[in-house]
């Protein structure tokens, strides 16, 4: 066994020591000299106009440097195109401080700049802004019949597939059928770290932007577009994030504000949002879902219809794939999927962990549980009877699909076979126990990505790719891939990311980073490997003289012939003997369309949950969760498990407590703080078993990885909701299931 086999093991995070010792620098921790501080003022109304900003009053305070609003913002880019970031949906992107018009509550209307943060905050509190208020509408219920088809997609959006068969007729003719409506409220990402941008002024319209973002290149694109900077003069850096969950995919107004002020004041600037302002930067949309299912007498699905309607802003058609997966999750010949938007006076929603799927999955998976009960079938058995061997949406086979194994291994670990079908049949005093299950699907995607690799004479390898890292473990898995490809110990490898000076990488989202950046890293290391082989072959009496690259391997610090490992050179000796200071290579990884085109590429999981419900008081405790995941090759068992643990936390949160409450009178979120926006604490967490089902897949990408960040969340919410039904006999279709819904 070689010591440089790293993939699939569970090494600790390579960036862990930096984080726990406070030496990992986050966007708000770059203390460049002569910083000025900004504080954003937000609108208290949801719709109307800013009539006047009384800036002069606060400018009189010593130390206040400037007040920026639509009244005095300098001429910026004119066309929408310049404001469109890589993830902008159809419509017109929001332009901060652009016009007096207010289109959502908490819209930023002014930026106050001062010598200290405290002074900026104080001056912001004093700043008088006059508004003219107009009637707003923030209630999705009022738009039930006003849904429309989105006017344009965004990266990753696919309209639902066309209907197949005759679903409505099949539903009408069936004896066993259900029809139900599911809802959940808005949610905000709420990463622990607040959005912060530190913009370092380097003179003459040249800046370095330390931002909290999941995509430095996206921020660079946005800032160069809006402010007319050249790329060379606008470096964006984001090496660490205290969580993102999608909130850092699009440039936030904090980075706009900080850049604006830096360019105007010709000085370095920091702008930090407050927790309250973290509720003004995009959210998982409030959604209504309508599902109709019917079965044939043998328990096979006769009809499947899933329709979703969610909110968007007045200016952008935010889209996500809510219903598409429902058409491929189960075998069914009569399917209709629908997806519509409704405009409200709110900010544009934004991708939030497992966007679309986290919404649609509970819809279809609670409905499947309802259908199983209507048909008198065990919910797991029902899923086996409707197992999809092919993706009927696109009529293609799966590149790999080990969902059956997820069901089986998960059920075995959980003890599902001992489950009585009848609800309310496990009771201990006033506690009712229930068992529920559900499954999930997520796309296995790969985006174009670049990486470079450089080895120095001391045998150290430096790998670069401008990817994002929001805490998922990217530093670690890329280090593993690079080290294994070139046969080095982990300690000899440094992987760096999050800098526009590095080779371009995609946004960090969609669970595609491992596949995309991982493949680029592997390719760059292989390209470097080929150079090293050539170097070796130049040596006198090289033992590798006529070898091709695919005949050699890098193991334990050696480059050697696969079929005759004694014919080897020690890498470090080679570098020193050849007298080079370093060898470098760069490479691009593109998805292999030729190979992938004939297949549907997805990860899957199955979740089993146990709850206890206090019958009198309605309180719910989740006591056990088993999450069995098939996501191709697992690069790092430890960080992958952590991703799935986090997914369970998220799914539980959505099932039981998480919701941003809108007061429609004000068109304003009311629980915009950590005390009242509830997400689970340790005391809420059950025992969690994470199983990774073995899955080989050489079609998705050369590494065989599918990504794990989103799929781990799926199934959890529905499994808990289904377990609550099994415990109590009450079917709650409006998430989150707080105790009053069970009284």
């Amino acid at each position: 066994m070689s010591q440089t086999d790293h993939i699939g093991k569970g090494p600790n995070r390579v960036d862990g020591p930096l984080k726990v010792s406070g030496t990992a620098h986050y966007a708000g921790e770059f203390n460049v000299p002569n910083l000025a501080y900004g504080y954003v003022v937000n609108s208290p109304i949801a719709k109307g106009k800013v009539v006047q900003v009384h800036a002069d009053e606060v400018l009189a305070l010593p130390g206040v440097l400037a007040v920026y609003s639509h009244e005095n913002v300098p001429h910026l880019a004119w066309f929408d195109r310049s404001y469109k970031d890589l993830l902008a949906p159809g419509g017109s992107p929001f332009r901060p401080l652009h016009s007096p018009d207010i289109t959502f509550n908490q819209q930023p209307v002014a930026l106050v700049m001062a010598e200290t943060f405290e002074l900026a905050r104080y001056a912001a509190a004093l700043l008088r802004v006059d508004y003219e208020q107009e009637k707003h509408e923030t209630n999705l219920e009022t738009k039930r019949t006003e849904g429309y088809l989105p006017g344009g997609g965004k990266l990753g959006y696919a309209p639902p597939p066309p209907p197949r068969g005759n679903p409505e007729k099949a539903w009408k003719n069936a004896d066993q059928k259900i029809e139900a409506e599911y809802t959940h409220g808005a949610q905000h990402h709420n990463p622990m770290e607040l959005f912060t941008s530190t913009v370092e002024w380097l003179g003459k319209d040249k800046i370095t932007v330390y931002d909290k973002t999941q995509g430095v290149f996206n921020v660079q694109r946005y800032l160069t577009g809006v402010f007319g900077l050249s790329k060379d003069n606008c470096r964006v850096v984001s090496q660490f994030m205290g969580g993102g969950f999608g909130s850092g995919l699009r440039p936030q107004y904090s980075v706009f504000m900080a850049t604006l002020a830096a360019l105007e004041l010709k000085r370095s600037v920091r702008v930090t949002l407050t927790r309250q302002q973290m509720f003004s930067i995009g959210h998982r949309p409030n959604t209504l879902q309508f599902v109709k299912l019917a079965t044939n007498p043998d328990g096979s699905l006769a009809s499947l219809q899933h329709h979703a309607l969610h909110e968007t802003s007045l200016f952008e058609d935010y889209t996500e794939n809510v219903v598409n997966w429902s058409g491929m999750q189960y075998q069914c010949d009569n399917v209709k999927l629908g997806y519509q938007l409704a405009q409200l006076d709110v900010y544009s929603p934004q991708d939030m962990r497992a966007p679309g799927a986290a919404t649609g999955n509970p819809g279809i998976e609670i409905a499947m549980d309802e259908m199983a009960y209507a048909a008198g079938l065990d919910p797991l058995e029902f899923r086996f009877r409707n197992y999809a061997e092919r993706d009927q949406n696109v009529d293609k086979p799966f590149s790999s699909k080990k969902l059956r194994e997820c069901y089986r291994e998960g059920a075995a670990k959980f003890g599902w076979d001992k489950r009585p079908l009848e609800p309310r049949s496990m009771r201990e005093g006033h506690l009712l126990t229930g068992w529920g299950m559900a499954g999930g699907v997520w796309d296995a995607m790969q985006m174009p990505s670049r990486a470079s690799a450089r080895i120095t004479a001391d045998g150290r390898l430096l790998v670069l790719s401008g990817a994002g890292e929001n805490g998922a473990g990217t530093y670690t898995i890329m280090t593993q891939i690079a080290a294994e490809t070139l046969g080095l110990p982990l300690e000899a490898v440094t992987f760096e990311l999050g800098d526009t000076d590095q080779p371009q990488a995609p946004l960090q989202g969609g669970s595609w980073t491992a596949a995309s950046v991982g493949t680029a890293v592997k390719n760059a290391c292989d390209a470097l490997g080929e150079k090293l082989l050539k170097l070796a072959q130049k040596q006198k009496d090289s033992p590798l003289k006529d070898a091709d690259y695919d005949e050699v391997e890098f193991v334990n610090g050696q480059l050697r012939l696969r079929r005759d490992p004694d014919r080897a050179v020690v890498l470090r000796d080679l570098l020193q003997a050849s007298g080079v200071t370093q060898v470098e290579a760069e490479s691009t990884a593109l998805p292999n369309m030729l190979k992938q085109n004939g297949y549907s590429l997805h990860s899957h999981n199955a979740v089993f949950a146990e709850v206890q419900v206090d019958e009198d008081l309605g309180t719910v405790r989740v006591t056990r969760v088993v999450n069995a995941v098939a996501a191709g090759r697992i690069l790092n068992r430890k960080t992958a498990r952590s991703q799935v643990l986090g997914g369970v936390v998220w799914g539980l949160s959505m099932a039981l407590m998480e919701e941003t409450i809108m007061d429609h009178k004000f068109g304003r979120y009311v629980n915009h703080n950590y005390a009242e926006y509830h997400i689970p604490v340790n005391a809420d967490m059950p025992h969690i078993d994470v199983l990774f089902v073995h899955e080989d897949d050489d079609i998705v990408n050369p590494l065989g990885v599918k990504g794990i960040g989103e799929v781990g969340m799926l199934g959890v919410t529905a499994a808990i909701a289904n377990a609550i039904f099994h415990a109590t006999g009450k079917r709650v279709r409006d998430l989150p299931i707080m105790l009053d819904k069970l009284l």
Binding site: R121, Y122, R621, H672, P680, D740
Partner: protein
């Protein structure tokens, strides 16, 4: 946050003098509530007198058999005090059901009494609120009011007092000792907090400049048959939707003395003395509990999103009385109250 000056008091007299010497000023305990409110611009004191380090942090026996809880003793030190654990376990449980360990380590007993409502609108200066700005209106009425009052509310304000500790205190009935510009006085706990009426800006009857120095618990601690039951939206680190503190004395199966107080339902910790009278002399049975619970919520009024609290409170009272009778607070609460 507005600029302010700051001083640290050396003794009680110094604190009272210092505060009186400044206009808009406030005492500062652990700061876990006041500083938040200052950041939100809800409170704007121009001067802070830090009283957290005053020598008022002792917990000591009183000659009458009671126990004195110093005003600046932390919530954590109070909960874990051996005397409190042994003689007033209901108080121990109530404190531990609140907030988080970090907050309890910082929060003082006086600060806990004085903490302000968690009403969403009170916290958001962009919305009208009679408590924050008398006469501006109450946004919670007709708004989102899940955490609001069902008992004793007024047309001006439907806020609740958020404390857990104070619910147990309401049941245990200590005396609040205060010191102010006009000398010292003692206030019965039940008189300390007030109902909103048409002056919701006042949470309690403390006069301007008065400093809380201690809470004096009477001897009777209901250490055998008690419960503190807290129902909330997650298992820790959330304020009570409804909480119930119960202390019983039993002879055989007959209730000889009873205390019953509710949290999360009113502008003040809600002790119901008439319910206590109804319990006295009665058998500790489900029938009695049901009758008393119905009595407590008989005049309850829902406001929309908190309608469920009426039924929840009724059921919680029954459960709390059962638990107290059976003397099995801890075992049952392992399910509901996971703190610490």
């Amino acid at each position: 946050m507005y600029p302010f000056t700051y001083s640290r008091a050396t003794d009680v007299a110094d604190a009272v003098r210092d505060k009186a010497g400044h206009g808009a000023s406030a005492y500062l305990g652990g700061g876990t509530n006041l500083i938040d409110l200052m950041k939100y611009n809800v409170e704007q004191p121009a001067h802070l007198v830090n009283v957290a380090k005053l020598p008022l942090d002792k917990i000591e026996d009183l000659p009458d058999g009671g126990l004195r809880l110093g005003a600046t003793a932390t919530n954590a030190d109070t909960a874990w005090n051996e005397q409190v654990k042994a003689r007033y376990p209901m108080l121990n449980q109530a404190i531990l059901a609140g907030a988080s360990p970090q907050l309890r380590n910082a929060a003082t007993n006086a600060g806990n009494l004085m903490q302000r409502t968690r009403c969403y609108y009170f916290y958001d200066i962009e919305t009208p609120c009679n408590k924050r700005e008398p006469g501006s209106g109450c946004s919670a009425i007709g708004g989102y009011n899940r955490i609001h009052a069902i008992l004793g509310a007024s047309e001006a304000c439907i806020a609740t007092h958020p404390s857990d500790m104070c619910v147990a205190l309401a049941a245990l009935a200590p005396t609040v000792r205060v010191s102010g510009p006009n000398g010292e006085r003692s206030i019965a706990f039940e008189d300390f907090h007030r109902l909103p009426g048409d002056q919701p800006q006042y949470d309690n009857i403390l006069a301007e400049g008065e400093l809380i120095t201690s809470l004096d618990l009477p001897e009777k601690g209901f250490a055998k048959n008690f419960t503190y039951l807290k129902l909330r939206d997650r298992h820790s680190y959330a304020f009570a939707l409804v909480s119930v503190a119960v202390g019983l004395e039993l002879e055989g199966n007959t209730i000889t003395d009873a205390r019953l107080a509710l949290g999360g339902v009113a502008h003040k910790p809600w002790r119901d003395k008439s319910a206590e009278q109804l319990l006295k002399g009665q058998p500790a049975t489900a029938e009695t509990f049901g009758r008393v619970a119905a009595h407590v919520v008989a005049n309850a009024v829902g406001q929309g999103s908190n309608d469920f609290k009426i039924e929840l409170a009724r059921r919680a009272i029954v459960r709390a009385l059962q638990q107290a009778t059976e003397g099995r607070q801890r075992a049952t609460d392992a399910f509901l109250n996971s703190n610490p």
